[in-house]
C-alpha cells in the first residue's frame, strides 16, 4: 500500500457538494462512492443525483426495520445501494438536480447513467479499509460528527470521541502519512474525508481525521459498490 493516496489527484472525486438544511448526508455519501466506482471502471467522472435518493429511496435495513431511508429525515448508505440495485441505477446530477427538499419521485429509468450491480461491507479493520480504498475507489463511511460542528482545519485527533454514536455519512477519498499539526509541531497520519457541507466548511469542504484508532467510529460502517455503465 502506498504511504499516501488521494483519489482527488486521480480525478475520481466530484466537486464538494452542499446538502443544505436537509439530513441527506447518506445520499451524498452514496453518490460519492458510486461516482468513484464508476470512475475506476470507466475512467470517466460523472456527477450523480442525490435528489433521486432523497425523493425515491425508502429502503429499510433488513435487520432493523426502523432504520429506513427517509429523504431529509436520514438514511443509510447500505439501504441506498439496495434501492439502486432494484431501481436500476442513478441519474446524472444535471438530469435530476438537488433541491434540498423531499419531493415526488421523478426518477426516469431511461435516464440512468450508472448502474449499481453489487455492494459490500468492509471488515472493521483499518488496513482492510485502506486496501479497499486503493483498490475500489472512494468508500462510504459513517462517523460521529460531534467535532465537525466546530472544525476549521488541521488533523482532527480528539482525545475522546465515541465510536458508537455514528450520525453522519461521508466519503473516504484518501489518506496521508504526515499531516502537519500547527499546535503540536508534529506530523500525524490521517484520513481525507469528503463532506457535504459546501466548500466554505473545514479544509475546502474536506475533513482530516487521524488514522489508527477507529477515531469517531470511522472504521465501523465502511462500504463499497460495484457499478456498470448504463447501455
Amino acid at each position: 500500500l502506498p504511504k499516501d493516496f488521494d483519489w482527488r489527484d486521480k480525478g475520481a472525486v466530484t466537486e464538494v457538494k452542499d446538502q443544505g438544511k436537509c439530513g441527506s448526508c447518506w445520499a451524498f455519501s452514496t453518490t460519492g462512492a458510486v461516482e468513484g466506482a464508476n470512475f475506476v471502471s470507466t475512467g470517466e467522472l460523472v456527477s450523480l443525483s442525490e435528489q433521486q435518493l432523497v425523493d425515491c429511496d425508502k429502503a429499510c435495513d433488513p435487520k432493523d426495520k426502523k432504520a429506513c431511508d427517509n429523504g431529509c429525515g436520514g438514511g443509510l448508505m447500505t439501504n441506498a445501494y439496495k434501492y439502486l440495485e432494484k431501481a436500476g441505477g442513478l441519474e446524472e446530477e444535471k438530469s435530476y438536480p438537488y433541491t434540498g427538499k423531499r419531493g415526488h419521485c421523478k426518477f426516469d429509468p431511461k435516464k440512468v447513467a450508472v448502474k449499481v450491480v453489487n455492494f459490500t461491507s468492509i471488515p472493521l479493520d483499518e488496513d482492510q479499509i485502506t486496501a479497499r480504498l486503493v483498490q475500489h475507489g472512494p468508500l462510504s463511511v459513517g462517523i460521529n460528527a460531534v467535532f465537525m460542528q466546530t472544525y476549521i482545519g488541521g488533523v482532527s485527533c480528539p482525545l475522546i470521541c465515541s465510536k458508537k454514536r455514528l450520525n453522519h455519512g461521508v466519503l473516504l477519498v484518501g489518506y496521508g502519512s504526515k499531516g502537519f499539526s500547527i499546535l503540536r509541531l508534529s506530523n500525524k497520519p490521517y484520513w481525507i474525508i469528503k463532506n457535504s457541507w459546501g466548500k466554505k466548511w473545514g479544509d475546502n469542504g474536506y475533513y482530516k481525521l487521524c488514522r489508527g484508532h477507529d477515531m469517531c467510529g470511522i472504521n465501523s460502517m465502511a462500504s463499497a459498490v460495484v457499478t456498470q455503465v448504463s447501455s
Partner: protein, 111 residues
C-alpha cells in the same frame, strides 16, 4: 458548559451578552456567513447559543489540539439542530449497521 474558573452569579445571563465582546464576535459571524434573524427575540436566542458554541469550540480545541476549532457556519445552532439539519445517518445498531449484505473477503495487505 459552565466555566470552571469563573462562576456566574447574576440571575439573567442573556442580557449580559448584549454589548459584550461576544456580541461583537456574533455580529462578525452574522456578516461572514450572511445570517439574519427575523425578530429581536430570535437574535438574542441565537446570540446565547453562539456564546455557548464559542465555549464548545474552546473545549473542542483543548480535546483536539492537532486540529483548529472555532466559529463556523453552524455556530448559531444547538447540537440537536445541527445534528438534525446537517447530518442524517439513520440510527442503527453499529454492531450490524456496517455489515448489511455480503462482507468483503479480506485482502492480502503484506508489503
Amino acid at each position: 458548559l459552565e466555566d470552571l474558573t469563573i462562576r456566574q452569579v447574576t440571575e439573567d445571563r442573556l442580557p449580559n451578552l448584549l454589548g459584550s465582546h461576544t456580541e461583537r464576535k456574533f455580529r462578525i459571524f452574522m456578516s461572514d456567513y450572511g445570517k439574519s434573524y427575523s425578530t429581536r427575540e430570535e437574535y438574542v436566542h441565537r446570540l446565547g447559543i453562539f456564546a455557548k458554541n464559542v465555549l464548545k469550540a474552546a473545549e473542542h480545541q483543548m480535546m483536539d489540539p492537532s486540529a483548529v476549532h472555532g466559529v463556523t457556519q453552524f455556530s448559531d445552532l444547538t447540537e440537536e439542530e445541527f445534528t438534525k439539519m446537517y447530518t442524517g445517518l439513520a440510527d442503527v445498531d453499529t454492531g450490524h449497521g456496517g455489515v448489511v449484505g455480503a462482507e468483503a473477503p479480506k485482502l492480502e495487505i503484506k508489503g
